[in-house]
Amino acid sequence: MRLAAILLGVVLAGAVALAVADWRGGSAGEPPTGSTLSATYVDPDGNGRLDRGAGEALVDRSELAPSARPGRQLALFAQLSDAHVVDEESPARLPFLDRLGAPLTSTFRPQEALTGQVLAATVESLNALGPQAVVSTGDLIDNAQSNELSQALSILRGGTVDPNGGAPGYDGVQSADNPDPLYYRPDVDAPRHPGLLEEAERPFPSPGLHAPWYPVMGNHELLFQGEVRPSARTSSVATGRRALLRLDPSVEIPTDERALTPDLVDRLLSGGLPGPTAGTPPDRSRRQLPAEGVARRLRGAGDVGGRRPLLDYSFDIAPGVRGIALDAARRDGGAKGRLGPGQIEWLSRELDRAGRRWVVVFSHQPLDSFAGGRRALAVLDRSPGVVAAVAGHTHRNSIVPRRSPSGGYWLVTTGALIDYPQQSRAFRLLQTANGVALETWMVDHSEANLAGVSRELAFLDAQGGRPRGNAGTRLDRNARLFKASSIRR
Amino acid sequence: MNVVSARGLTKTYGRGRAARKVLDAADLDVSGGEMVAVAGRSGSGKSTLLHLIGGLDRPDAGTLEVAGSRLDRLTERGFTDLRRHQVGFIFQFFHLVPELTGEENVAMPTRLVNGHSSGLARARALIRELGLDEVSGRLPHTLSGGEQQRFAIARALVNEPAVLLADEPTGNLDADAARTVLRHLRAVASGGRAVLLATHDEAAAEIADRVVHLDGGRLRA
């Protein structure tokens, strides 16, 4: 009798343990897809805390063509933009410029030590989506430094990533002992995250993108602070052993970005760093890369081939769907885009080559934001196969229709991974009765490796994506974009 | 000479319909060296008579003189003095203080009068006299009833009162012990004190010089 009771007890305990294990496995084992269609991060009561909330369903947008029943899937692809993987400890950083206002805004962000982790978490979410192609629409790194590019590429490739620059551990403006009240110090300031910086400098794993990925050149890949062409002087600042603490009050930074020429910067640096400095552990890998070098490494990493100095190329997203990447980054300085006449001609030829296939065009700067881009749009206007022109750079979600005689297409920009809401974008092209529907929705990154902390900090940032409205409206996020076309396949 | 002289003693308990006249114009005289037994049924007022004579209670009417003091005229302090110097009391239930030894019980009242040390000597002499030497250091609950009552007698006598009032002193004792106690009381009377004994014990009545009967609140010989 007693034996039976003991046996029964053991069996029951085992059953409970199994049930618990199963329950734990059920919640933790299921990878989050990150799709905001089912759930996303919201702050309904406005207290600054993000929680998982209801997802946002697709909104039908029929400005260009009436809604139609979506049919066969033609392609599934994704876009990530403006990851700004940054060596935040670099002496080439000028975080104090933040307080001077335009054009050098966003030179400091509370979450900047976690850019690599956010990119890795994005990779994880996109892998769960399982796209046929992933396009990085520029500003993959922040400050044109070699070590930034190495880090970003190794995250996309997969493996263990070492985010640390300079000496081991954190050595930057967010240290607890920095008295400057304008920087968020995770060890002491709210929301407190003691040890965050140490943790941020530790190697972390990245799964690597499982899909083929395609790089688009941004201004931050090439330019010092995304604005200034690197020179021997700026590069020696980056690899140097002194960091500028604040700008000498006598130094005047021009408010017009066109005045911010390499010459001016060289002049500023001619007498050494213009202001009080502090020692910093030097790091040779911080050298600033020449534009050709950046393009070469991006081509190699994305396996897009070619040898031209400009990163213009076309590729198959899926059978019957072409992608065209335009390199609008200026090599001479300035954040605005530029497309030369040769590039416009090349684009025209590529559209012809695409024939009856659907086309999606990718650039860093939105094509409607600069003269060369507008000329490119004029070319696209004539092509009935163009579904969308997709860009980044603005750090802001937006979807607007572009009407044209050939049926029009959609201009899509996507927010930055570095700023709130730290989302990437998924696209699904579907056949409809009279054309196509491009379904698009935002994808939240997983919370892996401190990326969740980064999202929290990005949300709180009073100079960040939240107050600037970077998430856009619902119409700018999850939508079904209809296009009618004469093209029949 | 009369140590106790009562005329027309009246005492009533209760009021109205519950009123009960316990003593109704009782007269009594007791002289020094005399042992008088008051006999009567239970509740006939024997104890009340003793209490009045001992200054424990006041009569409603009548005159009462004890050892030369008119009790009906005494103040509270006067009563205390009377009890202290002129009257000794023993009770059916002995009423020794349980926390004190026999000797301490006997010596306690000597603290009430001047000359405590001579009192102590008297206490020891009395204990010897009453044959309690051997047990003088014991606590009451370890003593026999007879022994306890003898200590009580010693305590009552230690301040050399003129009158000893004994309320059923043998009521709680076996025959042997009762005899011893009565013998001692007889000796006390023989020593010149007045002894007034409330009892319905035949033996007590026999040993007394005279017996008065309390009946219907009146005393008769």
């Binding site: 207290n47 709210a190 009073a462 | 302090r77 003095d81 009257v87 009242p109």
Partner: protein
């Protein structure tokens, strides 16, 4: 149930005198609790209540005048902001009303949006031309009411309302009386530019996450000059600076009052049951169950305790309500009003519950004995022992009492607790007096301060006879840059500050170099700082200075939010800081004489108080209250002693009667009782002293304030006072009970047998 209640009622009426006595005891204890509860509850919740009523913002930012649009763009971007509004504050504005005038008025020009004050009389500003709302402190001090006229900077204005805003203490405790005007109304007449602001009021969505809002506010504060943040919590600290210790002590006191109440009520109820053992025997004999007996007694106790408790609580609350409301008004806080009923009701429940339990428990226990045994009385149940007490009546009394070991132990423990509480109250009162008058209690070792340039004044001061030492003393208010809500004081002396201020070091060591700080435990707690931490102080100049914490000190001043440093860095951060000169007198020197000596040399002095002037009166009142409570406590001790003796006398009626029959007078009976009482006191007094010094004192000191160790151990004088007092009480109780015993005819007492 009704029948048994009626039975209980008639039994109570049957012994009306004793029931009334018990009721009086309960009422007295309830009154004590009522007083303590009213004051403590009012003070503890006053700020929150006022803040709630006034819709006090969670964050107030003050700065040099800026464009509203410019500021609002930044405020709008902050996380966790529910709403915001802006004011323009003008200070040093002349205000005048019939016969009253000041030149230091503060005019707050308010715009649209939430106001952040509560209108307690009249109406809010409607925006009409000549409207003004005045703060309650000003209205009270000047006798102003809605409808009256007030001259604001020479402009005749009509008072439409009276407001309370607990973001500062009230005028005249605050030197500047505040008035509010609408920007489109009187503000425009006064020439205020509606496009400018120097004060932002921010309400958060979630006040518990205000720290994140603050960090972001700091991050976007560039270009805004002389920015000062004041959080709601910071406001409370400021307001409570005066009342903080007092509130804590009052709460401790309430706990003590509850303790007294418990032991007293328990003892009384127990005594009552003992007294009526016989009835219990009869009830048991009649077939009542144990539970029935206990329930009967409980019911009787409740019938007495409910009205008595309610009455006592009511009286106590009414007595304390007025003064505590005035105190709250001076702090710009609101009295609790009807909200007080809840804690008072709680007190009543506690009192009634205690009485019922304390009655039912002994009744339950007594009922467990055989009815015959109970009926036979108590004297025979105890087995007497030889005890080494002196002979004689005094010694006899001790023996009588000691014979009842259980009851004596209970009485002794109750009395010991009571003694300990009396000692605690006396120690508290003394401590409060010291806080009030003696700078040394705040660790200050200098007695005078002198204003003047150190270079010229110091040599003169040092030459004055009676001056032992003098040194410049720098004091600066600072906000912690890490946690902007926390404000504290930086205090610096060149060289060894312990010569002038020497709060005891509880951890670490004293400051030795320029970069080090000793911080008060209050600051350490607020910042979570420990030895080795860095504190960053934002000075009035806007600059930040940093110090490494080398020691934690038990400082009482400013709620322990102080840091002792060397002046070097402090002056680097704020070169404009001017010191006062601290003067330490030689032992035995007369401060008055030194003061007049200094005055004859043209130097003005100020005596160093301990508490701030605003709280001094308050502390004085509280010390008096505590003394009264101590006296009440003493009376309660007398009550306990008397109860215990009366019970002994009751039980030992035969013994006492025999003594009386043998000629013992009232004096001797009193002597017997005094002997018993003295035994109890002799046991209770040392136990009480030990209890106070070892348990209650330290416990209350811990409970009262976490930022400092208040020495609350009774001193020799207080102990002597308490012990002598107890002996006196013993004598009084003995005489009282002896009188009662003397009133019972001996014959009656004897007949009981």
């Amino acid at each position: 149930m009704i029948a048994s209640a009626r039975g209980a009622w008639s039994r109570l009426r049957g012994r009306r005198g004793r029931s009334l006595l018990a009721a009086a005891g309960i009422a007295a204890v309830a009154a004590m609790m009522g007083t303590a509860t009213t004051v403590a509850y009012g003070l503890a919740t006053g700020f929150d209540r006022a803040a709630e009523r006034a819709d006090l913002p969670d964050l107030i930012a003050r700065f040099e005048p800026e464009q509203v649009d410019e500021v609002d763009a930044r405020v709008e971007a902050l996380p966790n902001v529910a709403s915001r509004s802006y004011r323009q504050e003008a200070t040093e504005v002349p205000l005048a009303s019939a016969g009253q005038a000041t030149s230091s008025g503060a005019v707050h020009v308010v715009g649209d949006g939430r106001r952040g004050y509560a209108i307690v009389a009249g109406d809010d500003l409607s925006g009409a031309g000549d409207e003004v709302v005045v703060e309650r402190g000003l209205a009270d001090a000047w006798g102003l009411a809605p409808g009256d006229r007030l001259s604001v900077a020479g402009v005749d204005a009509r008072i439409v309302g009276v407001a309370v805003a607990p973001d500062n203490v009230a005028f005249p405790l605050a030197s500047a009386p505040r008035v509010y005007v609408a920007s489109q109304g009187l503000g425009a007449q006064l020439g205020a530019d509606p496009g400018l602001t120097n004060m932002a009021l921010i309400w958060s969505q979630d006040p518990s996450r205000l720290d994140t809002t603050l960090v972001q506010a700091r991050a976007v504060s560039f270009g805004i000059d002389n920015l000062r943040f004041l959080t709601r919590a910071g406001v409370q600290v400021q307001l409570d600076e005066a009342a903080g210790i007092v509130i804590a002590l009052l709460i401790a006191f309430s706990a003590a009052a509850l303790g007294v109440a418990g032991v007293t009520l328990g003892a009384t109820a127990r005594a009552e049951v003992q007294r009526r053992l016989e009835t219990i025997g009869v009830m048991r004999g009649l077939g009542f169950s144990r539970i029935g007996v206990a329930a009967q007694y409980g019911l009787e106790a409740v019938i007495v305790a409910v009205p008595a408790g309610a009455l006592g609580l009511g009286v106590g609350a009414l007595l304390a309500y007025g003064p505590s409301a005035r105190l709250l008004e001076s702090l710009n806080e609101l009295p609790p009003g009807a909200a007080l009923l809840a804690p008072l009701a709680g007190c009543l429940l506690v009192i009634v519950g205690l009485v019922a339990l304390a009655t039912m428990w002994p009744a339950w226990r007594a009922a467990s004995r055989r009815p015959a045994e109970i009926l036979r009385g108590a004297e025979l149940t105890a087995r007497p022992r030889r005890l080494p007490y002196p002979a004689g009546f005094f010694g006899l009394g001790a023996r009588l009492v000691a014979a009842r070991v259980g009851r004596t132990a209970a009485t002794v423990s109750v009395l010991a607790v009571s003694t300990a509480l009396v000692l605690l109250m006396l120690a508290l009162a003394t401590r409060l007096d010291a806080l009030q008058n003696d700078p040394a209690s705040l660790g200050k070792r200098y007695q005078l301060t002198v204003n003047g340039a150190p270079d010229s004044t110091l040599p003169v001061v040092r030459d004055v006879p009676g001056v032992a030492a003098a040194a410049p003393r720098y004091e600066a208010s600072a906000a912690d840059s890490f946690q902007l809500g926390e404000t504290f004081k930086l205090i610096a002396f060149p060289g060894d500050h312990t010569e002038y201020e020497s709060p005891p070091v509880t951890e670490g060591r004293r400051v030795q170099t320029a970069g080090e700080a000793e911080i008060g435990a209050g600051l350490a707690n607020a910042l979570g700082a420990r030895r080795g931490s860095t504190i960053a102080a934002q000075l009035g100049s806007g600059r930040e200075v940093r110090f490494r914490v080398v020691g934690i000190v038990a400082a009482l001043g400013n709620e322990g939010r102080v840091a002792y440093v060397r002046p070097t860095r402090l002056l680097e951060g704020d070169p404009g800081l001017t010191p006062a000169i601290a003067v330490r007198l030689s032992p035995g020197a007369d401060p008055a004489q030194v003061t007049s000596e200094l005055r004859s040399r043209g130097i003005d002095t100020a005596a160093v108080g301990a508490a701030t002037s605003s709280s001094r009166e308050f502390l004085g009142v509280l010390a008096d209250v505590l003394r009264v409570v101590a006296i009440v406590n003493i009376l309660i001790a007398l009550f306990i002693l008397t109860q215990s003796l009366a019970l002994t006398a009751l039980e030992r009626r035969p013994t006492l009667a025999v003594l009386r029959a043998g000629g013992a007078g009232r004096r001797e009976v009193a002597l017997v009782l005094a002997g018993g009482a003295t035994l109890v006191v002799a046991l209770a007094a040392p136990a009480g002293v030990v209890l106070e010094r070892a348990v209650l004192g330290p416990a209350v000191a811990d409970m009262a304030v976490d930022y400092v160790t208040l020495p609350l151990s009774a001193d020799v004088g207080q102990i002597t006072f308490a012990v002598l007092g107890l002996l006196l009480l013993a004598l009084t109780a003995a005489l009282w009970v002896a009188r009662q015993v003397g009133r019972t005819p001996i014959a009656v007492a004897l007949r009981e047998e």
